[in-house]
Symmetry: C2
Subunit: 497 residues, 2 copies
């Protein structure tokens, strides 16, 4: 009874969220440039109304009742738990705080754009300070048991702790730095083939073909173009991806599409019964990223995948690829090279970029690092981890938008997802047999079906920890990913890692 009332009360919150997401999708894809200001008002209205409804006394009262007299079914209990979480997080932050943070973020975004363009960290520093201060205030308002950073992390990776991440990242770092060094000292595969001229229209169609082949459902989704690729959903039945095509760098388009299709497969796989409830979403950004990375790297950059895909790619680009063998193409898409920019990093070095940011973020939030010292700390860590020093802050600590968006606590989920992806892949392989043999035949339904069963369908009804434990039988660990890297890149580079 109360449960139905709660669902009825929260369904419009989902609808408003979906509408806002569509407005944001439009903003990144088709919106005419002159419409920006009006769109800002519309989004603010939808978000305010959704927030008002979520934080209304009705919800509080219903949750109290439902907690005193809990429903029996797992999904119903999960609904109460997640609604409580959302309600608490939304009510703990005062309207005044939310408004001050929104203003600070808008200002920070503007400052960051200018600072990055003009390599002017000093311009951004006061805004970053404001973001740090407000993040600290937010953490204090939300509360935490262990580290202050836990409260921020919890927004993106519910249940994760700073201590656990520090432990896992510590293991990872210790083993990864020597691997990267060994690969840097070995001759790399030639990846110049990726920089040939690939007709954008054909790239687009090839990406669509691959997305369809791995199971992305175009009856309940579509792909469009945007400056920065993303996945968004307006319902379990309407999950869209975007991509961007670089005419002279092949990887941008295809791996972008596969990555976003990975995110989208997750959301398309959520039990439709959860639609229009707070459960119809990814359970954490780490789990979300585990799916995108799984399809992008463990499938899309695997040797057997290219056994299936390369003849198709060659049919699409017969002239461009006439002199390139399958094995060489596979090598090209797996070249490892320490570099300055996170979003351009390869599968192996990527995690060092993430760990660097996690290290700086936690130090800022703990008060162990002053904003003014961020460039120095950044450059030292880059030298330490990747053996590079950025020639400018624009290519260093100013490169990412996250801090300007006030998203402290977001970065570590990229690496958590990467680690989870291998743990999940291996669990699937234990159940299903050799997945590579299937990929080589273009068979992706088995692994997709497994992910649907163990990960996707639950939406937020199971936490990341529950999903990982149920699916893999153990906790988060860096070892499986490290083993995978040693094996795969040892083979690609012909070295013993």
């Amino acid at each position: 009874m109360s449960l139905d009332t709660l669902k009825e009360h929260l369904a419009p919150v989902s609808d408003l969220g979906a509408a806002a997401a569509l407005l944001e999708w439009d903003q990144e894809t088709y919106m005419p440039p002159g419409a920006a200001e009006a769109r800002t008002h519309q989004l603010a209205t939808l978000k305010t109304l959704a927030h008002e409804r979520l934080t209304s006394d009705t919800v509080g009262t219903l949750l109290d009742k439902l907690e005193a007299d809990a429903p029996e079914a797992e999904l119903d209990r999960a609904l109460v738990r997640i609604a409580r979480r959302d309600y608490d997080r939304a009510t703990k932050l005062s309207a005044d705080f939310v408004s001050r943070f929104a203003t600070a973020k808008a200002r920070a975004l503007e400052a960051w754009k200018h600072a990055r363009q003009n390599d002017d960290f000093v311009r951004f520093a006061p805004n970053l300070q404001e973001i740090v201060d407000l993040s600290v205030e937010q953490a204090e308002a939300l509360g935490y048991d262990g580290d202050r950073y836990d409260a921020l992390l919890d927004e993106y990776e519910p249940g994760a702790t700073t201590a656990e991440i520090k432990r896992v990242f510590g293991d990872l770092r210790q083993s990864l730095i020597p691997i990267v060094r060994a690969l840097s000292e070995t001759e790399s595969p030639d990846d110049s083939v990726l920089r040939r001229s690939f007709d954008p229209e054909r790239q687009w169609h090839f990406g669509m073909e691959v997305a369809r082949a791995v199971g992305y459902d175009f009856v309940h989704g579509r792909q469009d173009k945007s400056a920065h690729p993303f996945t968004t959903s307006f319902s379990v039945r309407d999950v869209r991806i975007t991509t961007r095509i670089a005419p002279t760098f092949f990887s941008t388009g295809l791996f972008g599409t596969i990555h976003e299709a990975g995110h989208a497969l997750y959301e398309q796989g959520i039990d439709p019964a959860l639609d229009r409830t707070p459960l119809a979403d990814g359970t954490s950004l780490g789990i979300h990223e585990s799916q995108s990375r799984l399809w992008e790297n463990l499938v899309g950059r695997s040797r057997p995948f290219w056994r299936w895909a390369y003849p198709r790619l060659r049919q699409t680009f017969p002239d461009v690829l006439a002199d390139v063998q399958e094995d060489d193409f596979y090598g090209a898409v797996n070249r490892v090279r320490p570099s300055l920019i996170r979003v351009e990093a390869d599968e192996v070095t990527y995690n060092l970029h993430v760990m660097l940011r996690f290290q700086i973020e936690t130090a800022l939030i703990d008060g162990d690092l002053a904003v003014a010292d961020v460039p120095e700390a950044w450059n030292a860590a880059m030298q330490d981890m990747l053996g590079l020093t950025p020639p400018s802050n624009a290519d260093g600590c100013l490169q990412d938008i996250h801090w300007a968006l006030g998203a402290m606590g977001y970065f570590p989920t990229y690496t958590l997802g990467t680690l989870m992806s291998v743990q999940l892949f291996e669990a699937a392989q234990r159940d299903l047999g050799d997945l590579g043999e299937m990929f080589a035949r273009g068979e992706f339904e088995p692994i997709l079906g497994w992910m649907r069963e163990h990960v996707h369908r639950w939406g937020r009804a199971r936490s990341a920890a529950e999903i990982m434990y149920e699916a893999t039988g153990g906790p988060l660990s860096a070892e499986p990913w490290l083993d995978y890297v040693r094996q795969k890149f040892g083979a690609v580079y012909g070295v013993d890692l």
Copy 2:
């Protein structure tokens, strides 16, 4: 004080309306097919929330205050007047009625689709009866001074009366039937050129070029494809059109684009200060249609327009049009021919289709015609007005979606707009000099500027009657349009009309 509070309270109503309009735009352009059900929920939520906010006691109290102590500025007084109108119309209809009507419309739409497809009027009849009954109930709830149909008309053409329309349509009909007969008896221009094969991509670009030339602003708008062309706006700064291209019928694409661009020019021309208020919309469907018809017919189907456009069109389709002279192309796009389907009708016979529907609608609402007798009445009127008898109800009284949408009172605005378009055109010409000379040079800013000044910028701040009176100095009349038709088509057909 109260005025600012009212504006602040109503701005989110505009935002919710804009969001709903974007969801509808997406539904017709890009939405994946499997998303339909979720979209229905989202739209219902946005519309319910907008309705709740519009009809809240706050609005009633503020309006009472503002009417007792009226603001001075014209736009502020208009805001109070229009907000009162919207508030009254929204509060006069009970939630129960709105819900029953929505359900009936959804059922009618399904029934109509099947009935039309299978030429099965009997299938649709009970739904049409329900729509008529509910429309009568609606009219009684809204109230009226003269005819019951006035209350329905008022939704689309505020201030218009059934009596006035009957008088104007009476004049029109009396003169128009002999004109159509005379044209039917004269040899028509050959329009087979329009049915050649026109590359859709090139059609698209030519349409965009023309839309841009007449002043449609792509910084604050865009064109997409949809099954049925329409114009929509999410702000004065974001007014979008859609078109559809027929590969072997040229008129569909170009004239569709110009028609919608005409609607869009109106909405792009509304004073930006009115954005996010109830005034930021067309003041009536008649005035809206006057703008689309003006650009489609008085500009786009005029002789001087083709002096400018034809060389450009020929450059776009050099092979297709190699043997076609400008004058012959102009004749082709102005062929008059009595036909069965309203949306395919030419400029002259179109109004007969509208008058036929008006006649049947008013009789249904007045209780002078039984639903079962609609096919017979329709066919008799077709014979009477156009000399044709539909071979089926699918090509007769089942052809339009309007009644299934519950939109009784909508049809007459098509012809009102057509008549207004000539009255406005002539008023502009009195002020600006020979507009045709300008069109022949590709100069469309003068007429657009005049429409901006006299029509567009006011939004809903001036009623249709006020706009027509201020702009033309007189009331609505059929004579100017009849004179225009006699002159233009007399010349095209070489007859004295």
